[in-house]
């Protein structure tokens, strides 16, 4: 077990911006997974984020988990839980939290992809980079 950093989970982690390995926004910390270890302490083991997770945290348990399940089935081809990012993959924790993942692998990207495929890609000029 690596030494844990002292952080106030609700202040320093919850609701922070997540960024992928390229520095692109990929959701907020909607909830945290806590695991009780043999020493009796609770450890943050994963960052939970994506459709339905925040609703679940805010007390809409059934609606929240229904959205998560529906989303897991429709959003990605595999069975993996894309809303769960193990805490080991968080490289920096400051004003935003940098994750060693690609945003396309994260649960919150399914909606982004759907809107891109079905709407934005049909509008001319959608790949025009305004800065260049």
């Amino acid at each position: 077990m690596p030494a844990a950093r002292v952080l106030y989970a609700s202040l320093d982690l919850l609701d922070r911006q997540l960024r992928d390995r390229h520095g692109v926004e990929c959701g907020n910390v909607d909830d945290l997974e806590l695991t009780r270890h043999d020493d009796g302490r609770l450890y943050v083991t994963a960052i939970l984020s994506g459709p339905g997770v925040l609703l679940y945290r805010l007390g809409r348990r059934r609606l929240g988990s229904w959205i998560q399940r529906a989303h897991r089935r429709t959003g990605f081809a595999d069975d993996a839980d894309h809303a769960r990012v193990p805490i080991e993959l968080a490289s920096t924790i400051s004003a935003s939290i940098d994750l060693a993942i690609d945003r396309t692998d994260h649960a919150s990207f399914a909606g982004e992809r759907w809107v891109g495929d079905h709407i934005i890609s049909h509008i001319p000029g959608n790949d025009h980079d305004a800065d260049q």
Partner: protein
């Protein structure tokens, strides 16, 4: 030299971009009804927006985090969501008023009914959001907005009794034909127009879009300190025009062309053309800012990829929100609502929602874990805290005053 030119153009665009439909309507209305007796509110509002816009810009430059991101982090997701609902709704009203304002400015230039122009205006706004680089967009409409300086020229041309004009500013009183409630209500409208929350949503998100860092803090300060006070003077010139021309003739401000009437009467056709171009630029620029703000607040609350700097296919949901909001605003404007009434409600409700936006900024601007050594100084905190008390008082008074005065009648 190039850097200096950049700063200079930035300040000029800040001046030209300061006024939007809320300022145009509120200043002309109060000038016509209360003469210069509410001018002090503009001064208070401008100082307030300077204090908080600088803070929002600094937070964005140092931490890379725009305002609505912080709203959820600091107020929590539940209260943050209520805040999002209120802010989004008010921003929607403002967007509707700005789009209608663009259409009215074009209709006054072309004599076509403005309702026919509304859809085209909305499409034009969307095209700029979709294709034009951020900085070009800010510059073009900010600089064109300087045409509104023609209001100042008008005041100068009329050649008023300056002592009398100033005495209203320095020794304000409630005019005999008004009562303290309407006076307070219009004061709040002016305050809401000067401190509109979308300005800081846009300002802080824009700082992130322009990739500001600690190195840009000086430019942030210069833009705000040199750009906003002349913008406030411009607001006062609009008020003075209405006071000098509309009040003696007993003309109230019920439509946007009455705002431009003093200029037309004093400077003739050329003046009218310039002021209409100015109104077009000011409302168009603000329509862009509010359309983008609709996308900013939702995307930042939910953590989506956002921003105009990337191609639309890389921030798809952000652009979808903007498209839907613009379409809804267009329908709302076409439904026959009175654009001036929509403007009034948007600025008064803005005033009621001010603490929701400014409180989280103040908290984060004092948090070293975001700001490092760039936290607020002691004096700035003192001023900002006084303002926060004022903001809360204004927010509490708004809805009761709205009921008592029947929305300012």
């Amino acid at each position: 030299m190039k850097k200096l030119l950049g700063v200079f153009l930035g300040v000029l665009s800040a001046i030209g971009g300061f006024v939007d439909i809320g300022d145009l309507v509120a200043n002309a209305e109060t000038g016509a009804r209360f003469r210069m007796n509410l001018a002090w509110v503009v001064v208070v509002g401008v100082v307030g927006i300077i204090v908080y816009a600088e803070m929002a810009g600094r937070v964005a430059a140092v931490s890379g985090r725009p305002v609505f991101d912080l709203v959820r982090e600091r107020l929590g997701p539940r209260f943050g969501l209520a805040n999002l609902g209120a802010s989004f709704f008010i921003n929607f009203l403002t967007l509707t008023a700005e789009v209608a304002g663009v259409a009215i400015a074009i209709s006054l230039l072309s004599s076509i009914n403005y309702l026919f122009i509304v859809p085209a205006a909305a499409v034009l706004v969307w095209l700029v959001v979709w294709r034009m680089p951020f900085e070009t967009m800010e510059r073009i409409f900010g600089l064109l907005g300087l045409c509104l300086l023609v209001f100042a020229v008008t005041v100068w041309k009329i050649g008023p009794d300056w002592n009398q004009l100033l005495s209203g500013v320095v020794h304000p009183h409630v005019p005999s034909e008004e009562n303290p409630f309407t006076y307070a209500y219009y004061g709040i409208a002016l305050f809401g127009a000067a401190m509109t929350p979308y300005e800081v949503f846009f300002f802080s998100s824009g700082a992130v879009e322009d990739k500001w860092t600690v190195k840009d803090l000086g430019e942030n300060r210069i833009n705000v300190l040199l750009g906003f006070p002349p913008g406030g003077l411009l607001s006062l010139a609009i008020m003075a025009c209405a006071h000098l021309v509309l009040a003696p003739a007993n003309i109230g401000v019920g439509t946007l062309d009455q705002v431009s009437l003093p200029v037309a009467l004093t400077l003739g056709k050329v003046g009218l053309a310039i002021v209409l171009i100015g109104i077009f630029a000011a409302t168009f620029g603000a329509a862009l800012e509010t359309a983008l703000s609709a996308g900013y607040v939702i995307a930042q609350y939910l953590g989506w990829t956002w921003g105009k700097h990337a191609a639309p296919r890389r921030a798809t949901r952000f652009h979808l929100v903007i498209i839907i909001t613009l379409a809804a605003s267009t329908f709302f404007a076409l439904s026959g609502v009175d654009p001036v009434k929509v403007t009034e409600y948007s600025i008064v409700l803005s005033a009621a929602a001010l603490p929701l936006t400014y409180f989280p900024i103040l908290v984060v601007a004092n948090d070293p874990s975001y700001m490092g050594e760039h936290t607020n100084g002691r004096w700035l905190n003192a001023i900002a805290s006084v303002y926060l008390v004022v903001l809360v008082a204004v927010a509490l008074a708004t809805i009761p005053l709205m009921i008592i005065t029947k929305a300012g009648q």
